[in-house]
Symmetry: C2
Subunit: 403 residues, 2 copies
Amino acid sequence: MLVVQKYGGSSVADPERIHRVAGRIAAVQEEGHDIVVVVSAMGDTTDELISLVNKITDTPSDREMDMLLSTGEQVSIALLAMAIKERGSPVISLTGSQAGIITDDVHTKARILNIDTRRLGEELAQGNIVVVAGFQGIEKVGNDTTTLGRGGSDTTAVALAVALQADLCEIYTDVDGVYTTDPRIVPEARKLNAISYEEMLELANLGAGVLHPRAVEMAMNYKMPLHVRSSFNTNSGTLVKEVENMEKALYVTGVVCDHDVAKIGLFNVIDKPGIAFRIFKALAEEKINVDMIIQSAMRDGRNDISFTCSQGDLKKALAVVDGLQAVIGADGYTHSDGVAKVSIVGAGMISNPGVAAQMFESLYGEGINLEMISTSEIRISCVIRDKDAENAVKALHKEFNLA
Amino acid sequence: MLVVQKYGGSSVADPERIHRVAGRIAAVQEEGHDIVVVVSAMGDTTDELISLVNKITDTPSDREMDMLLSTGEQVSIALLAMAIKERGSPVISLTGSQAGIITDDVHTKARILNIDTRRLGEELAQGNIVVVAGFQGIEKVGNDTTTLGRGGSDTTAVALAVALQADLCEIYTDVDGVYTTDPRIVPEARKLNAISYEEMLELANLGAGVLHPRAVEMAMNYKMPLHVRSSFNTNSGTLVKEVENMEKALYVTGVVCDHDVAKIGLFNVIDKPGIAFRIFKALAEEKINVDMIIQSAMRDGRNDISFTCSQGDLKKALAVVDGLQAVIGADGYTHSDGVAKVSIVGAGMISNPGVAAQMFESLYGEGINLEMISTSEIRISCVIRDKDAENAVKALHKEFNLA
């Protein structure tokens, strides 16, 4: 069997943890499996490097950021390889470039174009455990190191698993797997033994943290099974895989809450074609990631338009809206950063039309007001007051019998 | 004009110093010159990485050490490039591999085989200041990063200067240049404005610190002028170059003292062919660097043999000697680590045969006993008691009018 394992920064934060991870890896090889390991930078390394940059310039070039940040993973792979060799197992570390991870040239958020697996194949054939630097690759035009941006190491692991036709891709993290909701809020939260790619993608997009949506999407496209589990114990985690009979799935799988939400509302915008386009194009040009968009019922040829973005983007978004106010003929605008987005996710929703009503009723029963609603095939999200978020999560977890 | 500059770790130890160095570099370009800059790892970075290794294994593989340690210079070049760009100057950083520095595959002490200057040439042609990681290269068989070992960054700078046919190679350090002796011991010590390659090589071999012998040797072979100067001021430093009329040079240029000396003496060794060979081959096999070797006058078919090595190698050397004692027929052996080596260097010695006598007389006048003596064409070294070293340096500096 060929296994790809990925360990996050907290799993290799110090020499002791590196030794523990090394032991786990060596054991897999001793069981007779081939193994490729992807690691992130140790603990806070990346933050420390960025704080150095902040003392030097406010406008670092993306290429030089990649030159700098890619060292973090290079340190991890060398130290982990040393720890594995210390146990007597044959091992080699490879940078993204050496592992054949070819990307486009969009520095700091490069996309993987393809993987040249020759070197990986040779090292595996020689019986080596191969430790690969996550988060990085090389662009072949300039022959420069690139980094993959957020979720980069998860993406590296899945991409390698796909390219090498691995049997399994294990994502090690500091929690036991994917939960029905955050166990810090709802102690009865239950670890899911399995979840479909689609559900995992929704949960990941909603900020469930354990796995980056980019990696889930790639795994889904190539049907690569993922096993999300803890590096601190040997418990079985959550298997993310293709679910044959989606109808048989639980109709709600999990509850997620995202506190990093800000809401902006525009009043009495002229209702004519091109207005919404103008607003959201201007926001996109400022690289503001707009999440939910609600256009309310028209009255007298006028609309209210509301949208959400991250709290970090609120200031920039308000500046854009302020500049547009006259052009789009809005009476005014308002904003709030005291909101949260609570979502339920479940593949079974497609065939259970009553779920939305059940969710709204449950929140109504808690006296919680819904400020915005948006839905996908397998997800329903409500924007509510941030102070109500914890109650909402508890109520929904109970309502859908997730404990 | 094309200038290669090299900055050591102390010159780029923190963001403030990096900014200062960036200013100096940008100024050179503004004067209309092309410039390639070689940097070492920031301050104590390398030591910090090694202390991490020590917590993981006592026997790291050399390849993984190179994977690890090469990150130090990669951090420096990225940050320095950012600081230069912050001043509005066009700049790019290159790793050893990107700069085309091809080495053999002897990890942790690789030798440069050749430099493929294509990328360097392209970047210079585009008007970029090029910042290159010192101390590192790539071996083309395994496509793996190598490091050059001690003096690596000096060697990188000289090799790039030679390969690019630079007009000048400036070595920036934390002192003003090469001195007649250590100014901390002799306050009257004088900075030399110029020195020949041969003299610099002797001084560097004797531990004068500012420049590594390896780099001096390469500069000498290719007649590349070196300018050793301080990164903390704009004073002119010491020019290391070919001296046409060596006879005209000062007959003594400098006084150097090395405290890292241990002495081992073997008594009454059988005087027959192959005995000395046996001793020093055994020491070489243990990678002990033997410096001076003295074989005293024969009496009754027996010799006394003494040699010096670094204090760090003393224990290993004693073990070797102990194992050989019976084979070589020695009566016994002794050792001392309370010794120092004081040397005078000067190209003029060749044509001034009285220099040795003058040196011995001066030391005799101070009541200093000479335990061992060795000479080259342009150097005389004496091993003396360590406690006498400071007096010896002062006396010789005065004797040869170096102030």
